[in-house]
């Protein structure tokens, strides 16, 4: 099923939890809503589910306007952060409850519950109550309950954020797998960018109720359209430096005190003559080298596979990833080389990218 949001707006008093959101989700697509806590992700999801009523705008499933349709007629399966299992029902009763409401024949109901339970590996828990299950098990039951009714749309509201890191990793893969196999359109809300990037076909980034970007994960990573996206996506986060871009002898240079970086022509010309602009570069695109811009090692944070080196250049700090074998030590003088093909440039006032529109 296709989902379309048109100018979707939700306001509480002065707070816009969703502000003029437009986006379209294709049949069978897996879309992640990504944004910091409080940006309106849950609200948008609940608007789609029909729990909240939009202040303005429309919600369409395929071509049908859903604004007035009560939640129970939307055929949606939803998984909540709090799991929201019915505590007074057994796992089995939880699984079949949505089907009962749809008047599914008992034989079909039983068969489907069994199959879903098998698929999720909770077959041996059917007689227990939610209170007797671990967090991971409850999560599976909640997922199962959303699946058994064979919904047209799956909604996930930070479903993994209460699980420990290792479980999160395996559930992530499993959810992605299930969604692909079943081909159900899915919206997945998360504040964890890794989750969004690894699972989604497209990511919708939200901030303060507004849609910041809506594109595939690699585009989000390689061609961030706003300063916010550039800073929010990626870990460790992108370095930002205030620079001025000037053309000298046909070559573009990004300049600031103690910092002179030649830029590629097609990037440099977008920023030249604008005065002060913001240059962004990810730590993995900054390398410790034999020559280049000089700085002093300020902090070394071992991350395991790499060391994250905080290098001071004049009055700014730049993070770089380095091979631990280099054994950088605090106080060392080092040289930095930048991968100029990955440099981002932003207008400091509008916070829009100068490279991508």
């Amino acid at each position: 099923m296709k989902v379309k949001l048109e100018n979707l707006t939700k306001r509480w008093g002065h707070v816009y939890a969703a502000h003029d959101i437009n986006l379209e989700i294709n049949d069978g697509e897996f879309v992640a809503f990504l944004g910091p806590s409080g940006c309106g992700k849950t609200t948008t999801l609940l608007l789609i589910a029909g729990i909240y009523k939009p202040t303005a705008g429309r919600i369409l499933f395929d071509e049908r306007v859903m604004n007035q349709v009560p939640p129970k007629n939307r055929n949606i399966g939803m998984v909540f952060q709090s799991y929201a299992l019915y505590p007074h029902m057994t796992v089995y009763e939880n699984l079949v409850f949505p089907m009962k409401l749809k008047r599914t024949p008992p034989a079909v109901m039983k068969e489907r519950a069994r199959r879903v339970a098998e698929m999720l590996g909770i077959g041996q828990l059917l007689d227990r109550r939610p209170g007797q299950l671990s967090g991971g098990q409850q999560q599976r039951v909640a997922l199962g309950r959303a699946l058994t009714k064979q919904p047209d749309l799956l909604l996930f509201d930070e479903p993994l954020s209460n699980l420990d890191a290792r479980l999160r990793l395996s559930m992530r893969a499993e959810i992605k797998r299930l969604q692909m196999d079943l081909g159900i359109t899915a919206i997945y809300v998360t504040h964890d960018q890794v989750e969004a990037m690894t699972m989604a076909d497209r990511v919708a980034v939200m901030k303060d109720g507004r849609l910041q970007a809506y594109c595939p994960p690699d585009e989000l990573y390689d061609r961030p359209r706003t300063l916010f996206i550039a800073g929010f996506v990626g870990n460790p986060p992108m370095n930002f430096l205030e620079v001025e871009v000037v053309q000298r002898d046909g070559v573009y240079h990004a300049l600031r005190a103690g910092f002179d970086l030649p830029l590629s022509a097609e990037r440099g010309k977008q920023a030249a003559g604008r005065g002060s602009v913001i240059l962004g570069v990810r730590p993995e695109d900054v390398m410790i080298a034999e020559e280049g811009i000089t700085g002093e090692v300020y902090v070394v944070e071992p991350l395991g596979r790499d060391d994250l080196i905080d290098v001071r250049i004049g009055d700014v700090h730049v993070h770089a990833l380095a091979d631990p074998n280099r054994r950088c030590r605090v106080g060392d003088r080092v040289h930095l080389r930048f991968n100029t093909q990955k440099i981002q440039l932003f207008d400091p006032k509008t916070e829009q990218s100068l490279l991508w529109t």
Binding site: Y52, R64, Q68
Partner: protein, 325 residues
């Protein structure tokens, strides 16, 4: 696109619209249905009666006139109250009853019990508070019967037999001798539990830091109560005082059972009740009784409205986090 397909589509759209209208009408209906029984009961047994009391107080309706031959008398009942020889004594009784019961028991004893039970081990505290709940849970007839026996003349009465006898005080029938003592005691032992529960939870919610600070400062128990606990629970104190004033002002069941208003213990609400609904001579004066009750109703309405503000109503109303009906 073929014509039939577009017609089908138009039909589909029309059907959908009708369906939506139906659901939205039904959805408005459902909260109303949830509320309906409560609304009917409140209207029939609160709103209509308030009007009835006020209306009937303007008539001379009584057993003598029946329900057919009564007439409007405007404010005659009220001027009769103003000049009635009973009015002053009853008013004095009512004030005395409310003031003494309130100060000695509903607030005073309640506070004492709450303080004592929060300064002994938890389980004992709980036990004593539960015991203080007993009078309220006991059927009022049984409860008053116990007290009548406590006060009874020798050789039966418990007071004479076990307390006053050994002290050498001559036995008598104490209920007629000291009616107010027993009216206040019986009502007070019931009334104290309300304040006790509220004060206890208030005291227990006082932040430990205050108590620790008081201890560190070397406060004695008394100083701690006086300077730490009392100032911090003045809000619940005010609440219990006002709330219980209203309940005491209008309650009469225990007095009805204990003395029936004899021995000079008639209070305002009992007077109204007896005039209108339980009259020895079978002459029910509904008009006059209603006028007596109307005075209390008006006091009740005004004070209840004051509570609205007092309860900080706005903080109690949370908007629902589901908008689908």
């Amino acid at each position: 696109m073929s014509e039939s397909a577009s017609t089908a589509r138009a039909l589909e759209v029309g059907k959908m619209r009708r369906l939506q209208e139906k659901t939205s009408l039904r959805s408005l209906l459902s909260p109303l249905l949830f509320m309906a029984p409560a609304i009917v009961l409140v209207v029939v047994f609160f709103f209509i009666p308030v009007v009835i009391v006020l209306v009937i107080s303007l008539t001379d309706m009584s057993t003598a006139t029946g329900f057919n031959n009564w007439k409007w008398v405007q404010f005659d009942n009220y001027s009769r109250i103003a000049t009635h020889p009973n009015t002053l004594p009853v008013l004095r009784n009512t004030l005395m009853y409310v003031a003494l019961t309130l100060s000695l028991f509903n607030v005073g004893m309640a506070l004492v019990i709450a303080l004592l039970t929060t300064h002994i081990p938890r389980r004992s505290g709980f036990l004593f508070r539960a015991l203080w709940l007993l009078p309220r849970l006991t059927p009022s007839v049984v409860y008053i019967m116990m007290w009548k026996y406590v006060a009874a003349d020798a050789p039966y009465g418990i007071l004479n037999q076990h307390l006053l006898g050994p002290l050498g005080i001559p036995p008598t029938n104490w209920l007629p001798a000291q009616p107010w003592f027993f009216v206040i005691l019986t009502n007070g032992f019931i009334g104290a539990s309300f304040g006790m529960v509220i004060f206890t939870s208030a005291i227990e919610s006082i932040h430990r830091d205050y108590m620790v600070a008081a201890l560190v400062d070397g406060c004695s128990l008394w100083q701690r109560i006086r300077y730490v606990i009392l100032p911090l629970i003045r809000w619940p104190l005010l609440f219990v005082t006002t709330y219980q004033t209203l309940s005491l002002l209008t309650s009469f069941e225990q007095i009805l059972l204990l003395t029936e208003g004899q021995f000079g213990t008639e209070v305002w609400s009992l007077w109204a009740y007896q005039r209108a609904l339980s009259n020895y001579w079978g002459n029910f004066q509904w008009g006059f009784g209603a006028a007596l009750a109307a005075v209390l109703v008006l006091i009740g309405v005004v004070m209840a409205l004051v509570y609205m503000r007092y309860f900080q109503f706005n903080q109690l109303v949370h908007e629902p986090k589901i908008e689908a009906l």
